[in-house]
């Protein structure tokens, strides 16, 4: 019995290691904010959100499977949260059932397993009730299948069979065990048997010996003999006790899985609620299969994490039609929204590829085979000489993992050296990546680099520029445009150091 809410016919692996490079993505895209909003300070939900968001789906069908399930959740939030609570009760309740560390005897295992099964059967009843009440309101394949499974497997017959076992396994009439001769004639393959008819009555016979069998008796004071006898009995019930304990484990892993998979959707609900409060729109993106020509177009795309951090006011949204573009170069004013835009692209990509909504009014995009970020890091400022080394080492790690169909986001990369060298390194890397079928988004203030890429002017490049109104005021909006030879650092200088006149006179002095 499986939940299968994340994939059709496949479990969600909540224990899996985060993919290599996850840490860079978390840091560069500010994902902690997203995970925080999804978890609402619940550690478990945080971990689920982290795994789910960072483990991208590759096929549009897989993305839509989750989108449909998520639509159901947005409509039926109450029922989904109730089911989630049942799973939480099962997992947390089972932790309170004590299993001694030292009492590993089959009898102790059996007792523990029976207690676990009693807890779980109760909660399975509740789950069945929720399913019966709400099933009709769900449309998605994921939830419809789950409800059908619950109805079929949790039948009245099943609950009755469980009760019968729980009473049989008390072994009031002794234990019947079969065995074979193993190495050196030691008994092996002890199997617990349901006692047949002929067993009845032999105990009452005086010797217990007849053509069918022979009886031996352990003397009362033969302590080691009694130990052996208890051990043989233990070997007999061992398998049944273990099977029962494993069944308890299986049920627990069903609830654990249900908790995980519902946890993702509950996380999405939480994030949606936070964004709605802020008045931000969300939409379900249109995922495009990776094997076709590159597609990317969006309307009102904003940085979800920035929005979640803002106390009030909405994040600025951007529009672009970049279908067929494999290289997007972003240039222009400092603090003009370049990094924010780059982040919004990365976030939307990840959120889309885990089946979530994205922060935009509309969003159509090709699924990527891997998302990588290469950001200039501010740390290690003292080790100037080692910095380019560090950047290149990180780039080399990316090169080890990048594949055709990946996306690499560069933010002020290779700026640890002078413009000429940095541009040349970047040019070679960008060219190699593009020719290998990798999509590249590149924020740079290197005019040499941006300009030369513009001159090459392939139809597959899009140049965006941070907008700047007359007088230096920023809109944080990006517009299509040719790279310009200055990054408006002077503006920044003026704002921080004073007026234009003072700055100019300082410059001429």
């Amino acid at each position: 019995m499986k939940a299968f809410l994340m994939y059709p016919g496949q479990d969600f692996d909540a224990e899996a290691d985060l993919p290599a490079g996850a840490q860079a993505l978390i840091e560069d895209l500010g994902l902690q904010t997203l995970f925080g909003a999804m978890s609402g300070d619940d550690e478990f939900l945080y971990a689920v959100a982290e795994r789910a968001v960072l483990t991208s789906l590759a096929e549009p069908e897989a993305v839509r499977y989750r989108q449909h399930a998520l639509r159901d959740c947005l409509d039926q939030a109450q029922a989904v949260r109730e089911m989630y609570q049942v799973a939480v009760d099962a997992v947390l309740g089972s932790k309170k059932i004590y299993r001694g560390i030292f009492s590993q005897s089959p009898d102790a295992t059996l007792r523990w397993a029976m207690e676990m099964l009693q807890l779980f059967t109760g909660l399975l009843h509740r789950l069945r009730e929720i399913a019966d009440t709400n099933a009709a309101n769900f449309r998605s394949q994921a939830f419809c299948t789950l409800f059908q499974t619950l109805a079929a497997e949790l039948s009245d017959d099943f609950f009755a069979a469980v009760d019968e076992h729980l009473s049989q396994l008390r072994f009031r009439g002794g234990v019947l065990v079969s065995a074979r001769l193993g190495k050196g004639s030691k008994g092996i393959r002890y199997v617990l048997r349901r006692a047949g008819e002929r067993r009845r009555g032999w105990i009452s016979r005086i010797t217990g010996n007849d053509s069918d069998g022979f009886t031996m008796r352990i003397a009362d004071r033969d302590e080691s003999g009694h130990r052996t006898l208890a051990e043989l009995r233990g070997r007999g019930i061992n398998l049944a006790a273990s099977a029962l304990a494993q069944s308890a484990d299986h049920m627990l892993s069903f609830f654990t899985m249900l908790r995980c998979e519902l946890g993702f959707y509950v996380g999405c609900l939480n994030a949606r609620d936070r964004l709605s409060e802020a008045g931000e729109p969300v939409c379900f993106p249109e995922p495009v299969a990776a094997d076709g020509p590159a597609r990317l177009s969006f309307h009102g795309l904003y940085d979800v994490c920035l929005s979640l951090r803002l106390d009030r006011g909405r994040a600025v949204g951007n529009d672009a039609g970049a279908d067929g573009k494999t290289l997007v170069i972003i240039t222009g004013a400092n603090q003009g929204g370049k990094s924010t835009f780059l982040r919004s692209v990365g976030l939307a990509q990840l959120m889309m590829q885990c089946g979530m909504f994205v922060g935009a009014e509309s969003f159509t995009d090709t699924l990527c085979t891997g998302l990588f970020t290469h950001y200039r890091r501010e740390e290690d400022a003292e080790m100037e000489s080692g910095k380019l080394d560090e950047e290149l080492a990180r780039m080399s790690e990316i090169a080890d993992r990048v594949t055709p169909g990946s996306i690499v986001l560069f933010n002020e990369s290779f700026a640890a050296t002078n413009e000429r060298e940095g541009s040349e390194i970047a040019r070679q890397i960008v060219r190699a990546l593009l020719e290998s079928g990798v999509r590249v988004f590149l924020v740079t203030h290197f005019f040499d680099l941006a300009h030369s890429l513009y001159q090459q002017g392939s139809g597959e490049s899009l140049f965006l520029r941070a907008q700047r109104r007359e007088g230096g005021q920023r809109t944080f909006r990006l517009v299509e445009g040719e790279p310009e030879p200055t990054s408006y650092g002077l503006d920044l200088y003026q704002r921080i150091f004073g007026t234009a006149d003072q700055a100019q006179s300082a410059a001429t002095r």
Partner: protein, 508 residues
């Protein structure tokens, strides 16, 4: 041809029990330890100490080894070895048991396992395509043994009795302090019913909750009592078991037992070479000659070092060398930590391994069948006492040159480091001149460049560094005089991030 040993073409070859003097210098002790690891019971080391003195004996082993390189045959031998090992364990168990029925059962298992081993190997060898004299002779021996009446009776008795015992199934009904033992009568498996009910929740693998019970081979009195009752339920079977033990004491054939041990010499080495093969390192059969000193090897390496590096998944650097015409002495110089000592060891290892009739590291090798091999490696001790050390150096070299014949090999590593350069040049030259006079094959690792050009007998080889980065060693030793080096490395190239390098790296 009658069979005496899979290792020797002629009988009565004496086996060395002490390792040769050069073993530790060449790290061959480590190699033998690695090869023999997990095969302690076969006591293989002496075989690796004992060099063959005739090319024909070497050929005998090379033939056997070629046969064993066939996967099918080597799998058959592995099966045989496993079975023989199991058989020995069963016999040990039989001796250690207290209850008679247990002794008998273990003995039966030992005998049955032995019969399986012999029968299986006999059939396998009959089917195998064998090229070696050794294996062909052994196949014939085994075939006639397996046809003998004694063996046939043993096999029939053992198999019949074993299947009878295996078929016995009984029930224990435990209630209070009584146990009733009956024949099993198709009572239903109750654990399976439990499993069945909960199968719908099965979620893949879970841990086992099965309690661990002590797994003693010995029985106690209650188990022995139960066994007696089981025997009363099946009296005929247990009577035959009594008889079997008396009839078949001492069933093991000595030639089969010796083969089992000796063939491990080959399989152990092939396994070792195979592990290095997985790391991309090749082995080959050397041409061995007792006359020609025109030796050579391609893509060879230090097996001790390679075995260490391969286990850490680090790359191993291979080297080539050759001597032709009047050339006899490889003089190796160049930067430190560049693989010079490794090269010297490689040279020695190659010759020793070849003299055992084994595959040697490399893709092609022509080697010399030496009478004695001498190593002179710098010893760490006595660093304070420089004069003592020089004296010791010279004494040892003198000793070596006194024993060496024209068929000997000398390997000298960093000698004469404990004196002035001028002295070292003088003494080194004198030593090499004597070696040249004796017509010895020699490798001489030295910091003294002058020794590299003493005449037609010497060949200069040097360790090399990465041209752009002298701190980085290539571990390649090449035929050339030492020279200066160029540096400067484009940083992007270092990270393989140039256009060309990156295009290579990003593949679907």
């Amino acid at each position: 041809m009658s069979f005496h040993s899979i290792l020797f073409d002629e009988p009565s070859a004496a086996v060395e029990h002490d390792q040769p003097g050069y073993f530790t210098d060449l790290n061959l002790d480590q190699v033998v330890t690695a090869i023999a690891a997990g095969r302690g019971e076969y006591d293989l080391a002496p075989f690796f100490y004992t060099r063959l003195r005739a090319v024909s004996a070497i050929t005998y082993r090379q033939e056997v080894m070629r046969d064993l390189q066939d996967d099918t045959l080597s799998a058959c031998i592995a099966t045989f070895a496993r079975q023989m090992k199991t058989m020995r364990e069963h016999l040990r168990q039989s001796k250690s048991m207290h209850y008679q029925r247990q002794k008998q059962h273990w003995f039966l298992d030992a005998a049955a396992t032995y019969c399986d081993a012999v029968t299986t190997l006999g059939a396998d060898l009959a089917d195998a395509e064998l090229g070696s004299r050794g294996f062909c002779a052994f196949r014939d021996h085994l075939a006639s043994y397996a046809r003998s009446e004694a063996f046939a009776t043993l096999a029939t008795d053992a198999n019949r009795l074993r299947s009878q015992l295996t078929a016995i199934q009984y029930c224990l009904d435990i209630s209070g302090n009584r146990i009733r033992v009956t024949k099993y009568d198709r009572e239903v498996d109750y654990s399976a019913e439990v499993v069945d009910t909960f199968a719908r929740f099965k979620q893949g693998a879970v841990k086992s909750y099965g309690s661990k019970f002590p797994d003693l081979a010995e029985m106690d009195h209650v188990e022995a009592g139960i066994l007696d009752l089981v025997a009363k339920l099946h009296p005929d079977v247990f009577a035959s078991l009594d008889e079997f033990t008396d009839t078949h004491d001492g069933f093991l054939d000595p030639t089969v037992a010796a083969f089992d041990r000796e063939v491990q010499f080959y399989t152990a080495y092939l396994e070792f070479a195979g592990q290095l093969g997985q790391a991309g390192l090749g082995f080959c059969y050397p041409q061995v000659s007792a006359e020609s000193k025109e030796i050579s090897a391609s893509e060879t390496f230090d097996v001790a070092l390679a075995s260490k590096l391969a286990s850490q998944h680090q790359p191993v650097v291979c080297n080539d060398f050759f001597l032709r015409g009047p050339e006899r002495i490889l003089v190796v110089s160049g930067p430190n930590q560049g693989g010079k000592t490794t090269f010297a060891r490689t040279f020695g290892q190659l010759h020793h391994l070849a003299s055992l009739g084994l595959l040697v590291p490399g893709t092609r090798a022509q080697l010399f069948l030496f009478d004695q091999l001498f190593t002179h490696f710098e010893r760490g001790e006595n660093l304070q006492d420089l004069r003592g050390k020089l004296e010791d150096d010279l004494t040892r070299i003198h000793g070596i040159l006194g024993q060496a014949t024209a068929s000997s090999i000398v390997i000298m590593n960093e000698i004469l480091t404990s004196t002035t350069l001028q002295d070292a040049v003088y003494l080194g030259t004198r030593v090499l001149e004597q070696i040249i006079d004796l017509d010895l094959l020699c490798v001489c690792v030295t910091f003294i460049d002058e020794l590299a050009s003493l005449g037609p007998a010497t060949v200069s080889m040097t360790s090399t560094v990465v041209p752009h980065n002298p701190a980085e060693r290539t571990y390649r030793i090449v035929r050339k005089p030492a020279d200066g080096l160029a540096y400067a490395l484009a940083i992007a190239e270092k990270y393989r991030l140039t256009y060309r390098a990156l295009r290579e790296r990003v593949r679907p």
